[in-house]
Amino acid sequence: MQQEQEVILRVQNLRKWFQTGGGFPFSKRKYVRAVDGISFDVKRGEIFGIAGESGSGKTTAGRVLLRLIEPTSGKVYFKNKDIFSLGKKELKSMRSHMQFIFQNPYESLPPNMRVYDIIAEPLKFAKTTANKAEMGGIVKNAFDSAGLSPMENFMSKYPRQLSGGERQRVAVARAIVLQPDFIVADEPVSMLDVSIRGEILHFLLDIQKRQNLSCVLITHDLSVARYVCNRIAIMYLGKFVEMGTEEKMVAEPMHPYTRILISSVPVMGQKGEKKDALVEGEPQSLLNLPVGCRFHPRCSRVMEVCRREEPEFVEVEKGHYVACHLYSAH
């Protein structure tokens, strides 16, 4: 499985800025640079993780990837088609190949529809040649893949009769019913009890194996990213600071921010001071980004150049990218 897989998603310099202020004719327009130029590829059958804290822009990035929000600039190629230049009809048909799993299972399902109808709903919008019987089979497949078996126990219930974990399984089933090539999962387990997170994560891994599904997983929890992702990118204040395989990112992180993040994650039974885990201050506001490297005000290894110039996101080892002056060629 290590041979060159085809690239299913190519993101180039994606930006999404939100305008604030400027309501009155003479006040200056300010922009919240939620996503400020990210580029990456996702290969077929790969789970790519975007990890970051709140305010990093990862949630916005996820929505722009599926064009649930319009971008400010940049390109996203899905199966070599530029999704931002598609017309309404083409976009709609593209939707059957790319799906979204939302974070909040208590709000992302229509409250007045039964589970069966919720999971079967995407079939209404996809151009399908399947007849009624075949469609029934497709829906049943989705139920089984998401662990909602036996189907009879769930199909007539309303979301309010299900637990959080069950609701999220319905969301997963609905996302995969059309057997999409690509899914964006936005914090799919962060609102679930710890003891049932494994269910959803294992489903994702399962579907990845069986259907060669590609996925972008957005999370703030690095342990989740480590468990399911093949490659991980760390996002900070709208940009990627590091990107590489899951093994390397966890074992040998290069960027100071990645290092701190990883050492701050609590490890079972590990007591004692983690002096290098403590970092000063908090992320700047997205309205008022620092000059030079965005992380420099909090970096313990800051240098003069960091205060002036933004480092470029470059490949420092095969497949491993970092944006940090410590590593860029001087």
Binding site: L66, L68, K92, S93, R95, S96, Q99, F100, F102, N104, E107, S108, L109, P110, P111, N112, E121, P122, K124, F125, A126, R160, A171, R174
Partner: protein, 275 residues
């Protein structure tokens, strides 16, 4: 162990009882009414007695019968008015709220202008210029009340459309019309039901008001407001029944729809909090 009885169900219950009784009364008016609505007798201005439980008016007509048929007229006008303004207000409000932006602003400005003017006066002006008669009265009230429905529906939809599951619908490829009709409007349905019921209250009261002022249904058609107005003249002769009973009937009908509407409101709130 004290079990608190919430006020909601009581209001709803009373409202249902009253409204159902009125509907029954109106539907079977021909059977329930002891006399015709325009049946003249020789007993002019007689006080309530066995033959005429509510007395007779200045033209010898049985007042009980008049108010039964009058209720039918009021409810009829109310239904027509609510049907027209409700439909228009909901549809326009839904579209304006869903698309937002410039379209919303373009529609909201004329709506808000009409809304800022007291609805009853607007209805009065329109009814006057259209002339009298049942249909014109209903139309006048309908037009004057469109902005009220528009505003409420618009604000309900604004809040519903931001919910995550609507975004999820877009993600699976649903079109705008599907989302509005299949998801947004049904989510608003409970609130709209109470809105329409309270609308009946307003419409009936407005019709009675217009009738009272002499605009609207011309005599001899029984109309509660008009009868109330006519009945005032009899007060000089000491006859209280030609004015009190029509007024009481207006009161009961309006009360009934009000309680039903408020009761529905409570129900909606209750359902929302027990999720």
């Amino acid at each position: 162990m004290r079990i608190p009885i919430p006020k909601g169900p009581l209001t709803l219950l009373v409202g249902i009882v009253i409204v159902v009784s009125i509907v029954f009364l109106v539907a079977f008016a021909d059977f329930l009414s002891p006399y015709g609505s325009n049946e003249f007798t020789n007993e002019i201005l007689t006080p309530p007695n066995v033959a005429h439980p509510m007395g007779t008016d200045a033209l010898g007509r049985d007042i009980l019968s008049r108010i039964i048929y009058g209720a039918r007229v009021s409810v009829g006008i109310g239904l027509a008015a609510v049907a027209i303004s409700g439909t228009i207000g909901v549809v326009v409000g839904a579209i304006s709220a869903y698309y937002g932006g410039k379209l919303d602003r373009a529609i909201s400005i004329p709506m808000d202008s009409i809304y800022s003017f007291p609805s009853i006066i607007t209805a009065l002006l329109i009814a006057y210029s259209l002339g009298g008669g049942g249909p014109n009265t209903a139309l006048a009230i309908a037009i004057a009340w469109i902005p009220s429905y528009f505003r409420v529906v618009r604000s309900i939809i604004f809040s519903v459309k931001e919910l995550t599951f609507i975004e999820a619908e877009k993600a699976i490829g649903a079109g705008t019309i599907y989302i509005i009709t299949r998801h947004i409007l049904p989510a608003c349905l409970p609130s709209i039901a109470s809105l329409l019921t309270l609308g009946m209250r307003d419409a009936i009261l407005a019709a009675a008001g217009l009738g009272f002022l002499g605009i609207g249904i011309p005599p001899p058609t029984p109309e509660l407001g008009a009868d109330l107005s006519e009945g005032r003249r009899a007060l000089l002769s000491g006859a209280w029944w030609p004015s009190v009973f029509p007024g009481l009937m207006i009161f009961i009908i309006v009360l009934g729809f009000n309680m039903l509407g408020e009761g529905l409101n409570e129900l909606v709130k209750l359902r929302r909090t027990t999720r």
